[in-house]
Symmetry: C3
């Protein structure tokens, strides 16, 4: 099974370097992506702090965001049409403490609704506009207020767009998701979710999200390699039960390396996860993210060899590209 989808992120920040690409470079990249079988592109976020992926009058007004000099939303939609790919558009995700009482799903929905309207009004006519990506990355049941938000925003996105599918890509709370000064190594293992907790919590959450979210693509990087397949089988089983598609978000960066974080992943690890995800019965593979971790055009020189190994794995002679 091939990776047929990837996230893209043109904004600077977080722990992923920015490429500073525009249409000329992304066009070349989309051509390559299409060549190796990618048909689905998901924009990671529409805003990072005050930096915007498109000129959102709403965010400029409400969040005092900075007016961007470029419209990445338009560009990605055009490139997806040109290269015959489907584009998923993200919802806005302001930084909130989802566990705090001050986070009120009804208010959050009222805040996000005009942004959905703005996007659909401006970009809804694009042929490549193929779905919505709920950018909230939750991993445990304790974030139940986000579930309540998704129960509102998911159906609204579907309704306004004539039923386009809704995707989310949650984490699994493995020990690698708890690396921070808040969690000393000793307590990570203890805090990591067990198989049973994961199954029970996501059974409830997916039940709640039935009809609101169509596709679940769990990130595969937070749990131990030893535990991955078991978790993945639980995920597939739960998605089947609740009538959802189950994709795997096969991360192409290495979560085991924290300084510098994060380099392109070792090929054996990527191969391990590809085979594990296939055995577990996923419907589709996406990756976070082709550029810069798996692409020979990205900012990590070693990524060209990860790309070569991947091409050999899927039986494609990468030298013919």
């Amino acid at each position: 099974m091939k990776i047929t989808g990837t996230f893209v992120q043109p904004l600077c920040g977080g722990d992923i370097p920015v490429m500073n690409w525009r249409e000329e470079e992304w066009d070349k990249e989309f051509f390559l992506m299409k060549t190796i079988g990618i048909d689905t592109v998901i924009l990671l976020r529409q805003a990072l702090g005050k930096w915007l992926a498109y000129k959102s009058d709403t965010l400029i007004r409400v969040e005092k965001a900075y007016e961007p000099s470029y419209d990445y939303m338009e560009m990605f939609l055009n490139l997806c049409r040109k290269h015959e790919m489907t584009f998923f558009v993200p919802t806005y995700t302001p930084v909130h403490d989802w566990l705090s009482a001050s986070y009120v799903p009804e208010k959050e929905f009222e805040f996000l609704k005009p942004l959905v309207d703005e996007i659909w009004e401006r970009y809804g006519g694009h042929k490549a506009f193929g779905g919505w990506y709920m950018a909230q990355e939750i991993s445990r049941k304790e974030a139940f207020r986000v579930i309540e938000l998704l129960q509102r925003i998911g159906p609204y996105c579907k309704q306004i767009s004539g039923g386009l599918p809704v995707l989310m890509s949650p984490g699994m709370q493995g020990p690698k998701g708890l690396i921070s000064t808040l969690y000393p190594p000793a307590c990570r293992k203890k805090m990591a979710v067990t198989f049973d907790e994961h199954r029970e919590e996501w059974d409830w959450m997916l039940g709640e999200l039935k009809g609101c979210v169509d596709i679940i693509a769990f990130q595969d990087g937070h749990v131990e390699f030893d535990d991955l397949e078991t978790f993945q089988k639980i995920n597939v089983e739960l998605c089947r039960k609740h009538g959802m598609e189950c994709w795997s978000n096969i991360e192409s960066f290495d979560r085991d390396i924290q300084n510098p974080k994060f380099p392109p992943i070792g090929w054996e690890k990527l191969r391990f996860k590809l085979l594990s995800a296939e055995r577990a019965g996923h419907d589709k593979f996406i990756t976070y993210e082709f550029t810069p971790f798996l692409s020979p055009n990205g900012c990590y020189p070693s990524a060209q060899y990860l790309y070569k190994r991947y091409c050999e794995h899927i039986g494609m002679d990468n030298r013919k590209n």
Copy 2:
């Protein structure tokens, strides 16, 4: 307005990777720099620990510094002449606690004076020798002893060199300058300088430095983007009041990213700072630093795209170079 000056740093250390370049590579780089409008080159430091940018007999004797195998001072001065650029030569900055009582400006001046003599004697005849760079990076009034040092060393540099201009590039104590284990996130905002404090302190400091320093080029990366223009307008206003030139040191690396620190900055951020600095009325833009952050020849593959975006911004077709 274009960036017309840049720092260079050929010594290994700190958080900036070393290129290990010599004349062949720097010549190529200076040619490119000249092509996009750079006419001013500032050497960041003459020594980093015991590693020297030129064979300073004084530092080898006094600091037991290591004898270098190469004379970067000579090389940069020659390349500046060849490419018709002006070169600023740094003063030595031993590591001291400027707030400690043991830091005595008079003694520090006596220590630095022979180094100024040594440099002028050896390199003063170079046509490209165009000014002095005071390498002490202060940001608050509490470092007043450095002011007292500059009151001695600045005039001495000018006097010995027939009045060459003296440049300094201080910080503004924004929250991004306080990222260290000493300052937990919660207290950074509180410790960050306010507009009024900054104005009041630098009004006093620039008053003290009148006649000692000719050009002030504040680093633009430590304050929040929201606050930048206000700070910059204060800086320009104060420089005008005290009869100094006001340059902006437009940092081309991203201070928002701490691991790995520091990658080339996102283009939208650089553009934001270029436009802000222009509106504030600066006399000249320099950057820290063309290589490796803004140059297609540097060690960050993504820098070539930052360079492309910058070339488009200044209306230069970078493909013709």
Copy 3:
């Protein structure tokens, strides 16, 4: 004196990026290595966690290691034969607390013995199989239980292989080896080994290892540059006394830079260490590691210039390669 040996490490992990190379890329690299005088290649480890450099049935059974898709041991041995180099094969080093009472050398030996057997049985017929590398990186006498292990495993390796030489590459416990949250900067200097302690402890250790280990290649990166030559002279003197060869492991990455760790070293530092090691009278120089730190083919763009400087230093015109 040239660097004539290098470590290689094809497994992902730790703080060194993985290249994801296979035979095509390593063949090209070995050709270049041979061109600049490298005749000795040492595999750093046979396993990193559960990721293996060759399909070890023993480790797959005992450690539940993952079955690798590639045999790097076979590949390196073949490339060494092709390029007329000698290959050192590492022993397995499970992660243990060597200072804990639960670490029992006899038991460890019984655990490692079948792996030595497995390797010799499978790869012993290779012409390039030229020695054994004891992968335990000790630095102080307190790890005496490792000495007891080496007293068993070293002779066993020699005996099974008809007397092939045994190499180890210990650290010197300088302050740069103590950079971790466990050791705040203030206490590093205090905890660093003194010349006398180092001499006394290694005199005892090398005495214990006589006949068990043939070559000692101290890592040169943990001590201060000022102290390096004195330490190296002690090392050479002790090796002479105990009838061992003394190599220097001249690290080609920069230990002074911690974020991001570790970039290719500055040329002046590498030159300093090359000259110091030569004056101290070492028998041979190896490096950790040619790829990616010193190679123009690696993942650090700046490494090509370190390579250029090194080629100039050894009097080789690197443009002719």
